[in-house]
Amino acid sequence: MEYAAPRSLDEAIGLLSQVGVDARPMAGGTDLLVQLRTGTRRPKLLVDLKQIPGLCGIDCGSQGFRIGAAVSGAEIGECLPLREAWPGVVEATELIGSTQIQGRASLGGNLCNASPAADSVPALIAAGAVCTVIGPGGRREVPVEEVVRGPGETTLSEAEIVVDFRLPQPQEGTGDAYQRMIPRTEMDIAIVGAGVSLRLAESGECLACRVALGAVAARPIRVDAAAEALIDRRPDAAALGELAAQASAAADPIDDKRGTRAYRSRVAGVLARRAAEMALRRAGPRRVAGSPAS
């Protein structure tokens, strides 16, 4: 296996195109190096993306946020404007592995590793994040929920790279949250993950809502039926109960060493409801700028 650390996107795409399926892009490498060690992936070329300026750094502007795909979780956690705007996304990102993993793991890697249980992905889907994909065929914008096809597989074409993630500045009354179930308090892969983002009107009615679940299907899924339980309604216990029921119904998980099908389905509803409750607390009554996220 060879290692290359290109300094530009063109160079990276060139290398990936040249070597084809035997090449693998790498951001933090926290999943990939484990796969190399256990032999589940045996690439001939590793293309390190961390030296490419377009994949690094976080830009915070009035229009919203641009997060480089190779930015580490630790850097994301330290970006206070982002945490203020999208606390659910930041918390989900911070749940990826240990402090040590946070020093390396990236949103791009978490997405493109294409695990159904990736923690940041349901939160990003719920927040409506879009990623910029650049490859030999040019540049395209892809909603996060369209990137993962199934376990270990993405919809990206050969030599395409996820360059960055875009999130808008949240509108007034927006709150988001991510909840996951793991048997311990840290260091586990999610048995279920649930991301919710919603927006409340002054009246307390829910204007918009997006719900996404992880680890309950072959890929992270957006669950519109659960979101609709809140939209145009007051988010009372009945509405939240309906959201939970819809989330459970939408789950189509497997039995494996980490959890059973029945357990995942049931807990998907519980976590969707808890995430919605937290998102509601964050959304209203209207947050005062600078107040700590709960």
Binding site: R37, T38, M181, P183, R184, T185, E186, M187, D188, I189, I191, D256, K257, R258, G259, T260, A262, Y263, R266, V267, V270, L271
Partner: protein, 754 residues
């Protein structure tokens, strides 16, 4: 927190908390563990492991692998000597050298996924790894059996078609490798006189010791046949003995240099790599290093047995235990030798029963050979019996500690495993728990409190120690037991106490097998107790010599000389100026030469340690997740030489037990392949899972030890599983009989309808 039950004004060091002698090396990264050794021109070796749970090996073709550039030697089962059946004593788990040899390298048949088939030494580990892929093994796959229930079914596949029991006797073909039965009285008849009888069955899964340091060794065989092994283990003499036996070498040819050990908990009381590394070094003429991956540690080194235990206890309305009977089936793995005998001995040990009986069976399955794990066999037995005792307390409406006190084993009581107890501290430990503020602290909704007890023996076994006086008056102690948790400190403290000198003046080294007398393994909670006894004995011999030397210097009768505070004195003549250790040592050449002594013995007078744990949990009724929110562990330590390390043993054992209760478990697929061979999915407790573990030391001195020591290392893993399970019972109203208490299992039990 320490509760002193004895007041010893004369002790200077015992009971204090000095910094351990090996501490600085270990916090600076300078201490060398098993994988930290290297030799010039060293080769790296890797092991080819079976992908099948049960298969006959028709042939192994290593030609292509041997031809690979950089490959220097390969060994397969044919290259190791055939070993006669002979009993070996491996921690708690009796086995047979022939079986041990077959486990180290398969002969003819593989018994589990991960079973070693061949080992390759090459110039780099990458080349060795590549060579493994070039070895062709022709397997005839056989039907396998993965659990004790199927293993004893009449038509079960046989794990060994030539099963021998421990004495090498041929038995009728079956997967039951051994049976034990013990107890007294007639429980069957006595149950009839009980007002209440609870009869319940429990299951536990295999769990790993989970030491952070994987097995590693470096071996060098010289052209003269001399062999040196650097490795981490729970006993350099054990490694020497087993390696020599498996390779047909004389013990004197083999020297084992103990590395620092990165955890063992019983799992490093046998050999896996060392005979292979030596065999490869003999063949290649070069030093050979082997380091297991974490995956190999999980797949191929001993877990604690999975178990099925049925417990029946009868009690009177007043709360007196009338009779107890237990049936224990432990999975041995692919070779005989589970810890079922110890489980059968300990299951009723905390209580005074007029009628007690336990029946244990050692059952073969196509899984890794089980190995000793801290109080081997006892935690699962305690889970069963302490759950039933908890249910009895509920049914009888008696406080659970009162019920235990009412039936507690104490001096003179006949134990369920046979002998009468000598002085033990179970009652005092229960009373300390009952009096502790934790026991009455309020609880909130979804919270519950559990109490459980447990006991473990101490092993005496064989120990040696050497004590030398250096010219400057400092003392060197050589022990033959790897220091796995601070024993250098406790040995140094006892020596300092004997000599009446500063702790810092005592140096403790762990000797290799050529520099100190034989020692059995660091295990069985025995080092501070048994090797400590030898250090005390050798120190006293040295002190006698010091007095003789002083007598010579003074030209007085030695009977008049006394040793106190690091000095020889003549109490009846204050004109004679005392002679300090350094003065006597400096002049030793004039008075008879170097001053040193060693002590060796089969150590008697071992104590027993009882533990009582209080655990509070909070259960999330919607997810089934159990959080331990408060934990207090009480234990009779006899005498805590270094209370910090006693507390450390208690805290560490408690947390291992909590992990065993909540999440740890081997998960096998139908083909017998372990699905969670890594820390990620094996789920040992992490720091954020836990509260502080409050350790309370009770000191009921062991009358047969010079300082009253009871071994403390193992008892603390015995009560945690039932303490957690009883707390979950209190929080939820549900009695759990199967481990682990993972969120899916708990949620399913709380609301089975969903």
């Amino acid at each position: 927190m320490t509760q002193k039950t004895r007041d010893d004004q004369t002790l200077k060091w015992v009971g204090t908390r000095p910094i351990r002698p090996d501490g600085v090396e270990k916090v600076t990264g300078r201490a060398r563990y098993g994988a930290d050794f290297a030799r010039p021109d060293m080769l790296w070796a890797k092991v080819l492991r079976s992908p099948h749970a049960h298969a006959r090996i028709r042939s192994i073709d290593v030609r292509e692998a041997l031809a690979l550039d950089g490959v220097k030697a390969i060994v397969t089962g044919d290259d190791l000597p055939e070993i006669a059946s002979e009993q070996a004593f491996v921690g708690e788990e009796p086995t047979d050298y022939r079986m041990m040899s077959q486990n180290v390298l398969a002969r003819g048949k593989v018994g589990y996924v991960g079973h070693a088939i061949a080992a390759v030494a090459a110039t780099t580990s990458a080349v060795a790894e590549e060579a493994l892929g070039l070895i062709e093994v022709d397997y005839e796959i056989l039907p396998h059996v993965l659990d004790a229930v199927s293993a004893i079914a009449p038509d079960a596949p046989l794990v060994h078609d030539d099963l021998c029991d421990r004495k090498g006797e041929k038995k009728a073909p079956s997967n039951i490798a051994n049976e034990v039965e013990m107890g007294h009285g007639d429980p069957e008849a006595a149950f009839a006189s009980a007002d209440f009888v609870i009869d319940r069955s429990f299951t536990t899964q295999a769990v790993h010791q989970g030491y952070i340091e994987p097995h590693a060794c470096l071996a060098e065989a010289g052209p003269d046949g001399q062999v040196t092994i650097w490795c981490s283990s729970q006993g350099q003499f054990m490694i020497r003995g087993y390696t020599a036996k498996l390779l047909g070498l004389d013990l004197a040819q083999v020297r084992v240099v103990p590395a620092e050990i990165g955890g063992g908990f019983g799992g490093k009381t046998t050999v896996y790599l060392e005979p292979l590394a030596v065999a490869l070094s003999q063949r290649s003429g070069r030093p050979v290093k082997m380091v297991m991956s974490r995956e190999e540690v999980f797949r191929a080194t001993g877990p604690a047995s999975a178990s099925r235990i049925r417990v029946k206890i009868g009690a009177t309305r007043a709360g007196n235990f009338v009779a107890g009977e237990a049936w224990l089936d432990y999975e041995a793995g692919a070779f005989p030798g589970s810890s079922v005998a110890a489980g059968s001995m300990t299951i009723f040990a905390p209580y005074a029963f007029e009628h007690a009986r336990s029946h244990g069976r050692d059952i073969l399955v196509n899984k890794p050979k089980s190995a000793a794990y801290r109080a081997p066999g006892a935690p699962m037995a305690a889970f069963a019996v302490e759950s039933v005792v908890d249910d009895l307390a509920r049914q009888l409406e008696i406080d659970p500690i009162d019920l235990r006190l009412q039936n507690a084993a104490q001096e003179g009581v006949q134990s369920s495993f046979g002998p009468r107890y000598k002085r033990i501290g179970f009652v005092e430990t229960l009373e300390a728990a009952q009096a502790h503020p934790h026991y009455d602290a309020p609880l909130k909704a979804n919270q519950g409190r559990g109490v459980a007890a447990g006991m473990w023996f101490n092993a005496g076994l064989q120990s040696s120690a050497a004590v030398m006086v250096n010219a400057d008056g400092s003392i060197s102690v050589i022990s033959g037991n790897p220091d796995i948790g601070g024993s250098r400190a406790s040995l140094a403290m006892m020596a300092a106490e004997e000599f009446g000198i500063a702790y810092e003046k005592v140096g403790v080294r762990i000797g290799d097998t050529a520099s100190v007398g034989y020692n059995d393994v660091t295990g069985g909670s025995r080092v501070t107790l048994a090797t400590g006894k030898m250090v005390v004995e050798a120190s006293r011999q040295v002190i006698a010599q010091l007095c003789e030397r002083a007598a010579k210097v003074w030209d007085v009768d030695v009977e008049r000389v006394q040793w106190a505070d690091g000095k020889a004195t003549v109490p009846d003549d204050d004109t004679i100026k005392p002679l300090g250790l350094a003065e006597i040592a400096t002049g030793a050449g004039r008075t008879g030469g170097p001053i040193q002594a060693s002590a060796s013995g089969s150590v008697r007078g071992v104590g027993m340690s009882f533990a009582v744990h209080l655990c509070d949990v909070e259960v999330d009724p919607e997810t089934g997740k159990v959080d331990v929110i408060r934990y207090t562990a009480f234990q009779d330590a006899g005498r805590a030489i270094h209370p910090s390390y006693v507390e450390g043993q208690i805290q560490g054992g408690a947390v291992q037990g909590i992990g065993w209760a909540l999440n740890e478990a081997y998960v096998f697929d139908e083909s017998g392949r372990l699905e969670n061979p890594g820390f990620l999915d094996y789920r040992m407790p992490v720091a954020s899972d836990l509260p502080m573990i409050d350790a309370v030391i009770i000191e009921v001195a062991n009358p047969d030890h010079p300082y009253g020591v009871r071994g403390v290392g193992e008892a603390p893993i015995v009560p945690p599983i039932p303490a957690v399970a009883n707390a979950v019972r209190a929080a939820t109203g549900v009695r759990f009989s199967d481990l682990p208490l993972s969120p899916p299992r708990v949620l399913d039990a709380l609301d089975p309808a969903s």
